[in-house]
Symmetry: C2
Subunit: 350 residues, 2 copies
C-alpha cells in the first residue's frame, strides 16, 4: 500500500472548483462547494471530503444535479421559510438556507428554513459553524438514504440522518457536534470483518435483524442506543420529509447507485440568536465558563487524550495540523481524481 499524498488544502479547493466549473457550475458556486468539501478534509472527515467532487461531477453530467439552479426562497412567516434548491448542489442551497436563517434569527430571534429538492450537502458542521462564527447557534438535520435498521425491524430503512449543532463561545473554539444517528458507520463494521475481529453486539444486525458480533454476518448498522437513536432518526426523517414533501426511507435516491433520478432531499436548518434571550455577552461567557469547568475535570485512565474534550475539539486540532502539513489523500482517491481531472482537462495537484 502506497502512502497517501499530502496535498495543500488550497490546491484541493482549486482542483475541485475547476472540475465543477468544467461541468457547468458558476465560478462562485464551484468555489463555495469545493471549499466546503475540503473543509471536511481539513477537519479529518475525509468521508465527506474532496473525493465527492467525482460523484457530483458525474451526477451533473447525467443531469441529476442542476449546475445552474435558480434557488427560490419563500419567507412564509417571519420565523419560517422554505428554500427550493432546484436540484442544485446541496452545498450551495444549504449555505444559502443557513444565511437566510441567520437573517431571520437576527430579526425575530429564531429562524427556521426547510430546504427542499436538494442534494447531498457534505458534512453538516460546515454550515452550523458558519452560524456560530456569527455568534449564533446553528442547527442542521437531514434525512439520507437507507442505511440503518429500524429498531425491532429486520431491514434497514432510515438513513444515518445526520444531526449537527454548533454553539459559539466568547473566547475559545465553538462546541460542534455532527453525528450520524446510527451507533457506528458501516465502514467500521466492514473494517472489523476484514480484520476478522468481533464487533460489540450493539453495532449491527444480521439478515434477521438480530444483533451480531461476527462482523461478516452484519447486514445493517443499528440506530445509536437502539430505541433512542431510532426515535431521533425518525424525528429527523419526519421533519426532513414531512415539512418539504420530499421522499422518505427506502424511497430516497441512493446517490452512488441511482443514475436515473435527482436526490430530492429535504433539510432542516435553524438558527437561534442568543441575544434574543440573554443580555450582552452573558450567553457566550457562560459557554466559556462551562467549557473551562469541563476541561478541568479529571479524565478516565483509559482516555487516550488524557483530558475531557469539548465536542469538536479534535477536529479543530486536526484542522490546524492539516493546514500546515497538507491533507492526506489516499492513493486510490488520488487516482480517481487524477482520471477525472484528465478527462475534464484539470490538472491534479500531484
Amino acid at each position: 500500500m502506497t502512502a497517501p499524498s499530502m496535498i495543500q488544502a488550497d490546491h484541493l479547493v482549486q482542483f475541485g472548483s475547476q472540475v465543477l466549473e468544467k461541468v457547468g457550475v458558476s465560478a462562485e458556486d464551484a468555489r463555495k462547494t469545493a471549499e466546503i468539501l475540503v473543509e471536511s478534509n481539513l477537519r479529518g472527515v475525509d468521508t465527506h471530503g474532496i473525493y465527492l467532487v467525482n460523484l457530483y461531477a458525474k451526477r451533473i453530467e447525467k443531469g441529476l444535479i442542476n449546475p445552474t439552479p435558480k434557488l427560490e426562497f419563500n419567507k412564509n412567516r417571519p420565523a419560517a421559510g422554505v428554500l427550493d434548491a432546484d436540484s442544485g448542489l446541496g452545498q450551495v442551497a444549504t449555505l444559502e438556507a443557513m444565511n437566510r436563517a441567520i437573517e431571520m434569527a437576527k430579526e425575530v430571534g429564531v429562524g427556521t428554513v426547510m430546504v427542499k429538492r436538494s442534494t447531498h450537502f457534505g458534512a453538516g458542521a460546515y454550515y452550523t459553524l458558519h452560524a456560530a462564527s456569527q455568534g449564533m447557534i446553528g442547527i442542521l438535520m437531514s434525512h439520507s438514504e437507507t442505511d440503518v435498521v429500524l429498531f425491532g425491524g429486520k431491514k434497514p430503512y432510515l438513513g444515518t440522518n445526520p444531526y449537527s449543532v454548533a454553539i459559539p463561545s466568547a473566547k475559545g473554539q465553538p462546541f460542534v457536534m455532527d453525528m450520524a444517528t446510527s451507533e457506528v458507520a458501516f465502514g467500521k463494521v466492514r473494517a472489523a470483518a476484514e480484520a476478522k475481529k468481533e464487533i460489540p453486539p450493539n453495532w449491527a444486525v444480521d439478515a434477521e435483524g438480530n444483533p451480531v458480533t461476527d462482523a461478516t454476518q452484519a447486514k445493517a448498522v443499528t440506530p445509536m442506543s437502539g430505541a433512542k437513536g431510532y426515535a431521533i432518526g425518525l424525528m429527523i426523517e419526519l421533519l426532513s420529509s414531512g415539512l418539504t414533501g420530499m421522499a422518505y426511507g427506502p424511497g430516497i435516491v441512493r446517490k452512488f447507485d441511482d443514475w436515473e433520478n435527482p436526490q430530492n432531499l429535504g433539510h432542516f436548518v435553524q438558527v437561534i440568536d442568543p441575544s434574543a434571550f440573554t443580555q450582552d455577552d452573558s450567553f457566550l461567557n457562560r459557554v466559556d465558563e462551562v467549557f473551562e469547568d469541563i476541561q478541568s475535570q479529571p479524565a478516565s485512565s483509559s482516555n487516550p487524550f488524557g483530558k475531557v474534550l469539548i465536542p469538536g475539539a479534535p477536529e479543530f486540532d486536526r484542522r490546524a495540523q492539516r493546514l500546515a502539513e497538507g491533507c492526506p489523500v489516499a492513493p486510490e482517491i488520488a487516482q480517481q481524481l487524477k482520471e477525472l481531472g484528465d478527462r475534464l482537462q484539470v490538472a491534479w495537484p500531484r
Copy 2:
C-alpha cells in the same frame, strides 16, 4: 412483597391536587400539576408519576418551591421569549411556556421560549404531546442534576438531560420521544447489581471512569452511544443554562438531597407550526404515510412485539390499559403517600 394497589387515575389526581392545595398551591395549579404527574403513571412512566407529589409538598413546605409564583413572560422578539417561573412548580411554568410557544408558532411559524428559575417538571412528553394535540410539533429539552459521566471523564457531571419531541399525525397517535440522554437509567444498573447480573460494557463506568460489566462496581451511567450522547447532553446543558443564566453541571441543585436552595432550572421549549412550511394537511398526511410504511416492515425475530413500533406507541397502549384497570402503586409508595395524606388531612384513595 405485597402486590401493588390498583388505583384509578382520577383518584390519584384528586389526591395529588388536594395535597398541593393543602401546602398553598392554587386549586387550578394544583390540579394541573397532579394531572401531569398522573399522566406519567398512566403512560407507565411511574418514575415521573404521583409519588413526586411527596417531594414537591416537602419542597414547598421548606420554601424551596413557591406555591404562588408570579409567572413573568417577556416576548423579547416575535419568535423568542423568556418565562420566569419564579421558583414555582415546573409543571405550571412549562405548560405555560408551551402555550406561549404555540401562540408564537401560530403567528410567526416557530416559537421558542426559555424557562428560567424553574423546578422539576415531571416527564417532558406531557408538554410536547400538548403541542401535538393542536397539530403542532412540540420540542422540550432541559438540563438536570448530575448523573452521567463526561465522555472520557472520571466523574459524573451532566444530568440525564431529557429530550422530548412530539409530532402529530393525521389519523393515528402522534410520534413521541422522551428520553434521557444517558445510555440507561441508573436504576437498571442497580437492578443488575441486585440480581448479580453482568451489565453490557457501554452502560456504566467504575470509580476511574472506565467501562464496567460488574454492576456492583458501577459509579455513574454513561452518555448514550458515548461521544454522541455526551454531545447531545452538553448541547442541552448549554441551551438550558446558557440561554437562561441558570446553574450547570454539578452546580445544579439535587432535588432529593438539597434542602437549602431552590432548583433554578432552565428549560428549552420550542413549537413548530407545520402549516408555516407546507400546504393544507400535507404534513400530517405524510407523517401517517411514513408510520403506515414503517409498521408494515418485517420485525426481527427477537422483537417481543412482533412488529416495528412508532416511538411512543407502547405508552399509548399502556395508557388505555391503565385508564381501564387503574394505575399500579407500589406498596412502599402507597405507604409514603398515605402518610403524607394523613399529615395534611387528605384521604389516600385506598
